[in-house]
């Protein structure tokens, strides 16, 4: 129910308000109880109980303002304006909730950044220090452990931040949905230097008109996880091929690498939480990726040959 104004004569104020509310409310709501209205010029808050058919019982409050319109001969009428304050308050509450969540996220993010800076200087100086140790020096081993532990701290910080991201990321996308092609191209640009450093050639074969109804950040997360896995698996370089095409309202994506591959008995376990084939893996990457894909009505599978490479198959419903 919105705001409104209508002119009425002094005698009719009470009846009109009631009538007007009846009129407005009767289409959607049933009034359970109505308090008699006695009005004077000025501002009033009027409470009306009514039942919302879609929600539960609601008490709605209206701020009603009465202004008397007079001329030299006396009273002409009265202008009544009203505003549904409950609706307004609900909106304000929701906004305040969202804003405080955002503020909390900002605060969490700035703490995380402040912690990452010293982690980085510690890690950097340790790497410099390590150069003066021989391979068999115990101090080399110890500093390796410190560096691994710092990386673990950093992973925990990232997981902590991504929790906030899940809660605050906007679910609203444009009408078209998110473009698979643009998302993959963006991620490849992001990994450009890792690809170059490792001597990986990539080939993209992506149809233009593939849109999926998904949160953009989560889609990026999926591709970041998968492409990073491929890059890490291709220690000796090789080819990375990414294909995306549409068929019968489904989108099919294939990410194929020529990396170390996964042992056959490990392929089945690969989506389980805390399972990792990587020395420094958290074992959460593929687990989280699969969960996001499943949430959006998609599916995901892997085929791998040890020593030859891995292909990851993704399937999404196309945004109609």
């Amino acid at each position: 129910m919105g705001d409104g104004r209508w002119p009425t004569s002094a005698k009719n104020i009470v009846r009109s308000i009631k009538h007007y509310y009846d009129y407005l409310i009767k289409n959607t709501y049933t009034i359970e109880r109505d308090s008699p209205l006695y009005v004077k010029e000025g501002s009033h808050r009027i409470l009306i109980d009514y039942q919302d058919k879609e929600k539960d019982n609601h008490i709605h409050a209206f701020d009603v303002n009465f202004s008397v319109i007079e001329d030299s001969k006396g009273l002409l009428g009265c202008l009544v304006t009203y505003e549904d304050v409950i609706e307004l308050e609900e909106m304000r509450n929701k906004k305040a909730q969202y804003e405080s969540l955002l503020a909390e996220k900002e605060l969490a993010a700035s703490y995380v950044h402040e912690i990452k800076n010293p982690i980085f200087s510690i890690r950097g100086f340790l790497q410099i220090l390590q150069q003066s140790f021989n391979e068999d020096d115990k101090r080399k081993e110890y500093t390796d452990i410190i560096i691994n532990e710092l990386d673990r701290m950093n992973n925990l910080l990232n997981e902590f931040l991504s929790k906030y991201r899940e809660h605050t990321s906007t679910k609203v996308q444009n009408d078209k949905g998110v473009s698979i092609k643009l998302a993959i191209e963006e991620i490849i640009a992001f990994f450009q230097y890792s690809l170059e450093l490792k001597g990986i050639n990539y080939k993209l074969d992506l149809d233009d008109e593939l849109f999926v109804s998904i949160d953009r950040d989560q889609l990026m997360q999926i591709f970041i996880n998968l492409i990073q896995n491929s890059i890490e698996a291709m220690k000796e370089g090789g080819h990375l091929t990414i294909k995306a095409y549409g068929k019968d309202d489904r989108i099919y994506i294939e990410i194929k690498d020529e990396g170390v591959g996964i042992k056959q008995d490990q392929v089945d376990k690969i989506f389980k939480p805390f399972f990792s084939t990587k020395e420094k893996g958290t074992g959460l990457g593929l687990y989280i990726t699969k969960r996001i894909v499943d949430n959006y009505g998609g599916s995901m599978s892997l085929k791998s040959t040890e020593g030859k490479g891995t292909t990851c198959y993704l399937e999404f419903p196309m945004k109609s």
């Binding site: 993010a109 995380v112 950044h113 402040e114 990452k116 800076n117 010293p118 982690i119 980085f120 200087s121 890690r123 950097g124 100086f125 790497q127 410099i128 710092l150 990386d151 950093n154 990232n158 931040l161 643009l182 963006e186 640009a189 992001f190 450009q192 230097y193 170059e196 450093l197 950040d217 990026m220």
Partner: protein, 143 residues
């Protein structure tokens, strides 16, 4: 090594010192600045070939500083470093000509390998490459 002058801009004291140390060890001549005033001053006097830019600097962001630096030295190549992982900022930086983006904490030897690579290969920044090829401003990314 050619093109070996590097300007490091980061307001974190020890990060600046650490990066200067590791780059100097790899044969670079490194300069450090903790804000945009110092950075522009060094850029004028030393004409660095590469700038390593922190995204969050006091009172200014890395990309804005980069455009000021490009007025002083148009051919300067930029590598960004950041403690935050804002993907939108990364894609903006990459479209506006950054050659690389490293998230703190990163492996400093991978970082120096990357800098050695861009300083020896004469790899132009993407923005410049576009300018040379098209003779016009870089194409706007459609989104």
């Amino acid at each position: 090594m050619q093109n070996n002058k590097v300007l490091i801009v980061d307001d974190q004291y020890w990060i600046k010192i650490m990066l200067k140390e590791v780059l100097t060890n790899s044969g670079f001549t490194a300069f450090v600045a903790s804000n945009h005033v110092e950075a522009l001053e060094i850029a004028k006097n030393e004409q660095p070939d590469i700038v390593v830019l922190d995204v969050n600097l006091p009172g200014i962001d890395g990309l804005s500083l980069l455009s000021s630096l490009k007025k002083v030295k148009p051919s300067i190549r930029a590598v960004f470093i950041s403690a935050s992982s804002d993907t939108d900022y990364v894609s903006r930086a990459m479209t506006e000509g950054a050659l690389g983006f490293f998230f703190k904490p990163f492996d400093i030897f991978e970082f120096t390998t990357f800098l050695v690579k861009i300083s020896t290969s004469g790899m132009a920044s993407r923005g410049e490459g576009k300018w040379e090829m098209d003779g016009g401003p870089p194409a706007q990314k459609t989104s």
